[in-house]
Amino acid sequence: MINQIKKHLDLILNDMERSPAFYIWVSILLSMVAVAGYALLLSLIYSLEIFEFSIHVIWVTMVSNYVFLVVSSTGLCIVTSLGHVFGMQRYELVAKRGVFLALITIIFGMISIGAHLGHPERAMVFNALTPNFYSAMWWMGTLYTFYIVFISVEYWLLARDELKKRAEQAEGVERTIFGYLALKKLDDSRLGAVLKDHKLLQAVGAAALVSGLSAHNTLGALFGHIEARPLWYGSYYPVYFLLSASFCGFAWLLAVSIGTYKLKREEIPEDYMSLIFEMAQVLALLLSVGLLFTVYKMGFGLFTPIKVKPIMLFLKGPFSIAFWLFEIAIGTVLPIPILLYAVGRRNITGVLVASSMVLVGVYVMRYDFVVAAQIYPVIKNGLPSYLPTFMEVLFIGGVLGALFLTYTLGAIFLPLKEERHGHTA
């Protein structure tokens, strides 16, 4: 039996995936997940207190990680829907990888917030039974649920042809599995014809985009509504979140797809190459708009009495390194010239480096955004440390580890590659 599985795997895996480096990568990810599982278990057995940061700062890394992941998911949805919703055929190349990434980022984002909630099991029940329509959090939870459904269907529709092809090529168990995954039986029915129609994909994509953007807007509003937190309050964040979602989406797609090709030592298809440089240009443009937004936020904040103190935390307080180095330099300013240079020289590595820098910058930015806002009005003399607690780092590491593990497996077993899919051909 084991030999049989091995034989199957041998057919699928390429050289790189049989190398020791690959096994090391997977085992690192697996151990990260295991450690996180241990932290989660401790929190269930003892109390959630092991994740506690300070009694007054109650939303920390799990929330910021959630925000980072769901914003990325919306961003990926924005980029991919340029293809099959807005009819830009060249973007259809990235549809499969983009939608798959959007799906796994939102799922692991939800896992991150689920571990933060005291009673995630009640959340589902009472969200349905006793909704509070005035609560942005209710809208966010509900809309993201719809979004997950739409985006799953969207990926399935995109991948179906490829899954069918794999079922035909394979034998035995694999054939059955892929056959079921593609719901091959439907093909002869009337539903099969509907499934093949490009219009259906467009409709599902549009539904995912609308629910995703609305959910995303309520996520921004969730923070924007809170009058008692001067830094969050106002309509700035709902709007800015949309912008940052867009550049996160481009950055994720560029970093992950180029990274995958490089690691697998595969050739990047020619038409994808030209799209990469186009996306890099758009990313540079979005980053410069983002910079303007940040300048506006800081400048405006300095003239709003209640916002001055929290803003100063960034400009020259405990968050200044995170702000100036990560958010401004690594996350926004430096990537712009790197991207432009890389586009001019048609240098793939430059794009990879710049987009990864954007992701790192945005990750730190999310953390600051969540934590710094909670310092005022209650904490008067500052905190001894603004770094996340050790246990939380372990847990979040595991969530990210699981995310990359899922992607790694997906990149091997599922159709993600930048090829034109059957619908348009």
Partner: protein, 291 residues
């Protein structure tokens, strides 16, 4: 000083007698009418001696944990899932000599921000005035803590729910007369409990008559609260958390912010559409090449 207290007590007693006869004549309708009467708690910090009996009475009634040394007078304590009421010594910033004990708990806002944001309606404002967390329903998201202008609802890491003072909603119904545990325990009548309009009158009377009583917290703050506190100075001078003198997190305001976001959404969709149409030519070229 004590005269005033007995006044409240006597008036309440007469009212009880009065309402008893009204109940008798009107029956159930009368009872329902009386129930919608709003109650309030009045804290007079100028009378408080810092004995912390309210704290321990609250803990006893609500079966909360007592931490070591917490009940020592002058020991600084913070609200927590086990401390629904705290008593702390505060000095007036303008006059360091003058120090008072501040009895601090949930203010039971008339339009509570905490209840407005709770996604599952686990917090409700009862008609009598109590703002109560339903601990069987709370999902532990801590959004209410973020929204509360006073930062009152605290998370219980063991029970995994948010807990706070509920103005003893489980005591008031008894005969409509039982006071909250903290009020009943106070030895110097620094706390009192009555119909809301009565305590407003009483608070105003004390501020106009008594020397140290200068400020009533809760008339305007957060749009008005059902707990009023008589302070010897303005709350900001005493180092208390200052709430805006208007309703916090009004629904209209939430709508405005969400609406701005949706304008952003449509703007983004417009930009995507423009991007798609402006670069249409490029599409064709790529496609031709790949064909």
């Amino acid at each position: 000083m004590n005269m005033a207290v007995t006044n409240i007590g006597r008036r309440r007693f007469l009212k009880m007698l009065g309402s008893a006869s009204v109940y008798a004549t009107l029956g159930a309708a009368g009872v329902a009418g009386a129930q919608t009467q709003r109650y309030g708690k009045l804290v007079d910090t100028t009378r408080c001696i810092g004995c912390k009996r309210c704290m321990s009475a609250c803990k006893r009634w609500n079966k909360l944990e007592v931490e070591r040394d917490e009940m020592v007078t002058d020991r600084e304590t913070d609200l927590s899932a086990q401390n629904w009421v705290v008593v702390n010594l505060r000095a007036d910033a303008k006059n360091r000599e003058e120090r008072t004990y501040e009895h601090w708990a949930c203010q039971h806002c008339i339009q509570p921000a905490c209840a407005g944001v709770c996604p599952v309606r686990a917090i409700i404002k009862l008609p009598r005035g109590n703002v109560v967390v339903n601990e069987k329903k709370c999902i532990g998201c801590r959004y209410c803590y973020q929204a509360c202008p006073y930062k009152v609802p605290r998370f219980d890491f063991v029970k995994r729910v948010t807990r706070k003072c509920h103005l003893c909603y489980d005591r008031i119904p008894l005969l409509n007369y039982m006071k909250p545990a903290c009020v009943a325990a106070c030895p110097v009548e620094a706390l009192s409990f009555d119909y809301k309009h009565e305590i407003i009158l009483e608070a105003k009377r004390r501020v106009s008559k008594e020397k140290n009583a200068r400020y009533i917290l809760g008339l305007k703050e957060a749009g008005g609260t059902d707990m009023l506190t008589i302070l010897p100075a303005r709350p900001q001078d005493l180092g208390l958390v200052v709430a805006p003198r208007k309703v916090v997190n009004q629904n209209l305001d939430k709508l405005r912010i969400t609406g701005a976001g949706f304008m952003g959404v449509s703007g983004l969709a417009g930009l995507m559409y423009t991007y798609a149409t402006l670069t249409q030519g490029k599409n064709k070229r790529d496609h031709d090449q790949s064909d």
